[in-house]
Structure formats: C-alpha cells, structure tokens
Amino acid sequence: MLLLQNLSNALILACTYILMAAGLTMVYGVLKVLHIAHASVYTVGAFVGVLAFTRLGNFWVALAIAMFVSGIFGVLIYRSTYFYLLNSPRTVPLIASVGMFVMFTDLLQKPFLMGAYQRAFPAGGAGLPAVKTALFSFTAKQVLILLVTVILLAIVYVILTRTKLGLSWQAASMDRDMASAVGVNLNQSIAANFFLGSALAGAAGVLVGVYNNSVFATMGDLPSYKAFIIIVLGGMGSLPGAILASLILAIVENFLVASIGYVLPRDSIAFLVLILMLMFRPNGLLGRE
C-alpha cells in the first residue's frame, strides 16, 4: 500500500519533469542547443499563470494564456539569440543560454515584475475531484497535473507523428541543411518547435505553481538542471527517452528520499542517478548511435 502510494506520488512528480524535459528535448533535437533558458520560460509561465488566475479566476483560461505567452517568449528567445548562432560552435549558444537564464532570473526578481517574494497560486484542483481507492489516492491537484500532462503529451504525439510540421522537425533533427533542401522553411519550422516546447514549459510552471501554491522568481533554478539530467539520461533528443527518464528519476527520488533522505537531500540523488547511469549507458537510455 505504501509502495503504491509512493509510486503514484512519483508519477505526479514525473509529470512535471516530463513537461519540462519534453520542450528541452524538442529544442535539442532540432538545434542541438542545450537550452538552459528554458527554465526561465517555465518561471514566466508560472508568473503569467498566477497573474491571469488572480484577475480572471478561471484556471483553464489562465493555463491557456500562460502557455501562449510562454510560447511567444520562447520564440523571441530563439529569434533574438539562437537564430544568429545556428552555425557557431555549440558552446556559443550554450553560453548565450546560460547568460540569458541568469539575466531573466535577475530581471524577474525586480520589484516591478515578480519581486523577491512568493505569490500564492490558489487554484486548487481547478474543480477536479480527488481520487481515492483502497490502494492509492490522488488529491484533486494531483489529478489536475496528471490530466493536463496526459492531454498535452497526446497533442505533442499527434503533432510529431501525424503532421508535416512534426515530420519537418524530425528531418531537421537529422540533417538541417538537407531539410531545408527539400523545402522545409527552417525559420518557421524551428520557431514552431520553440513555441510548442516553450508552451509545455509554461504549463509545467503553472502546474508546479498550483501544486506548491507558490510562484517565485527563482523557481526555475532547480528545474534548469533537473531537466538536463533527464534529457541526458533519456538520450539527447529522444522524446520517449525523456519520458522514461522522468519516470525513473521521479521513482528513484521518491523511494530513496523515503529511505535515505536524511543523509542525502533529494536533489543530489538526481545527480547520483545520472552519474551511475552514465557509467553504464553513456548514450542515455534510448540514445541514438
């Protein structure tokens, strides 16, 4: 019983990891850039979400607005920075990305934006019911996270596998020049990729904000490196790999925290898992070649 409850808690944690890592994986696939500033998009998503929610009072509308603004924010990051660095060595956009992340975090802490305090995000379960069975239970908030994640992943799956746009992303992730030479408008295709990936990060920010009933300017710090552990574990650029890695990491964290949590804090466990995994599978769980 405790086991199952632990597993269901891990599942919820995994959902937020997945939403965050899915966008990163998509961006890495097409641009081969480690997009650290993705965590800023997550924070902005949470911030916009909480602002929209306090003004409009409807969680779903707030979520949609937050995802849209996050998507636009992601596209702006791409067009203002990575776009000009496409043909530079990979360290250049990486450094630019770290720079942007630090800058946005500082900027968001300014009093005219988020300030240095936490805001409550009292959306609760957005009217969804809690689920209680003999073996495990989900609170309304957990049901909300599960539901939103499953819906968003289904949308991503359909776009990736059933649309020309998704096909163009796959092509660009294998050979960008060649994709261009079969007629893929790379500017549009990559911008759309950033939009979707960033919208997912925004959704993750909103969900975590609601779950912890707290939104603050530095909330992206932890996800900024957690998401990296996940995409490295999953095999760079592999979406199924990222999902699998999210689940494994969440499960390991939950169980180890329960047993040895007093020795090692939760977040160092994540790195231990990464190091151990890389010793045995240097290309990640589902990495190519």
């Binding site: 163009s168 294998m174 994709a179 408008n185």
Partner: protein, 233 residues
C-alpha cells in the same frame, strides 16, 4: 533555365571557385567533370544554397537567387541529390519521400510517390523500412526518388555513381537520361566521366576552381586532353 556567371566561392580564407560560368538549358543534361577537390561539390552546394558566393551570380529562370535560402530555391524548382545521399536516416522510405514533396499537396504527393515507385520498384517493397537499413544502391535510389518527389524543373546531382556497383551506375544513369522527357533538366557533377559522357548533352571540365573546357558530350569524349585526364587514355 540556370545561368551561373563569374562565380567566386570562399570557405574562410580559401577560395574554391574562381569565376565559374556555366548554363543549363530547358530539358538538358549537363555534366561538370573534374577530379577530387576541383570544386565540383562546392558548385552544387552554392546552387542549392548551402554555400554563399563571394562574387558572381546564380540565376534561375532569369531571377537572381544568390541570397535565397535553400527552401526558397526548392519552391522555384530546384532539387538536389547530394553526395552520399544524405537521407533522413532514422525515417522510413515513405517518410523520406514524403519530405521530398514537402511543399506539395497530399494528393500530388501520393501520385508522385507512385511515379517514383514505378521508377524504382524496390523502394515500393521497402516503403516501411528505415532508410539507414537499406543497401548502398537502394539508398542512392531513395535519394534520387526523394529529389523527384518535388517534381523539380532542375535536378542537381552530386557524385551519384560514387560507391555504386557498375550495374547500378548504369541503372541510375539510365533513369537520369530519361528525365528530360519529363521536362526535368539535370546538372550532374561526376568523377566518373566515362559513364557521364554517355548520357549528357553537354559537359564542362572543372580544374582547381576554373572551367578549363566545355563542349558537347561527344566533342569532350574525343578530346585528347579529356581522354588522358579523365577517361584513362
């Protein structure tokens, strides 16, 4: 169709093409022959838009295309069979072909896929197979098929015979030879001058970034210099 005038291309400090001029007419097959490192691939890359000229002009049907990205050139009727194919290796044969027709409607894509399957029946058999699992010859056919999917007006072909068995070279060249019947022009870059001169209408000889000879295929095949340098005496 395609006119290239006084083209200079540099990679960093190194100039690869020093004032190349050539043209390809409607429904014409033209070859650019030359040894390794003569600048043939650079020429093709500049025409598709993967390299930018430092000087000179590429014109497609009278329009200067120097600054256009590759996808804009595809829209205007160019397609490429690049060196070693550059297939989308993790995707199926069908998805590779579908990408070749990226700018076309679903209906036309299906029709064109049948055309390509008629040309290379083996691809129809392997339609669900992942591209990287195909044999070398099949991959080369898929690369040509993918380029045909956009129904191009001018097909750029880079070293298609390289690494192919002689019997496949013949088959591939036979397909190329029939392209003008479908109103497709071809610019072919080849080391295999012997086979190329059998199927092209005209050819240019590129040496160290300069065009040193040009003429009808037969004239070049009879030229003693060409014989000595490219046809093995």
């Amino acid at each position: 169709m395609l006119t290239i005038e006084n083209l200079y291309v540099r990679y960093g400090q190194i100039e690869v093409l020093h004032g190349v001029s050539l043209d390809v007419g409607e429904s014409e097959i033209v070859a650019v022959l030359g040894a390794n490192g003569a600048g043939k691939s650079t020429l093709i890359k500049t025409i598709i838009g993967w390299a930018r000229p430092a000087k000179g002009e590429c014109r497609l049907n009278g329009e200067v295309i120097n600054a256009l990205p590759a996808w804009e050139r595809v829209k205007r009727g160019l397609a490429i069979v690049p060196e070693s194919g550059r297939l989308f290796r993790e995707l199926s044969v069908e998805d590779n072909l579908r990408l070749g027709a990226y700018l076309r409607e679903e209906q036309e894509t299906k029709k064109q896929m049948e055309v390509v399957f008629n040309l290379f029946p083996i691809l129809a058999e392997r339609r669900k197979q992942i591209a990287k699992t195909l044999s070398g010859g099949e991959q080369q056919m898929l690369a040509i098929g993918r380029a045909m999917m956009s129904n191009p007006r001018l097909l750029l072909i880079d070293e298609v015979s390289m690494g192919l068995m002689p019997i496949l070279v013949k088959r591939v060249f036979q397909v190329i030879q029939e392209l003008p019947q479908h109103q497709v022009s071809v610019l072919l870059v080849e080391q295999n001058a012997f086979e190329a001169l059998k199927i092209v209408h005209r050819a240019y000889v590129l040496e160290n970034g300069h065009i040193v000879l040009e003429g009808k295929a037969q004239e070049l095949a009879d030229n003693p210099l060409v014989k000595a340098a490219y046809l093995g005496g």
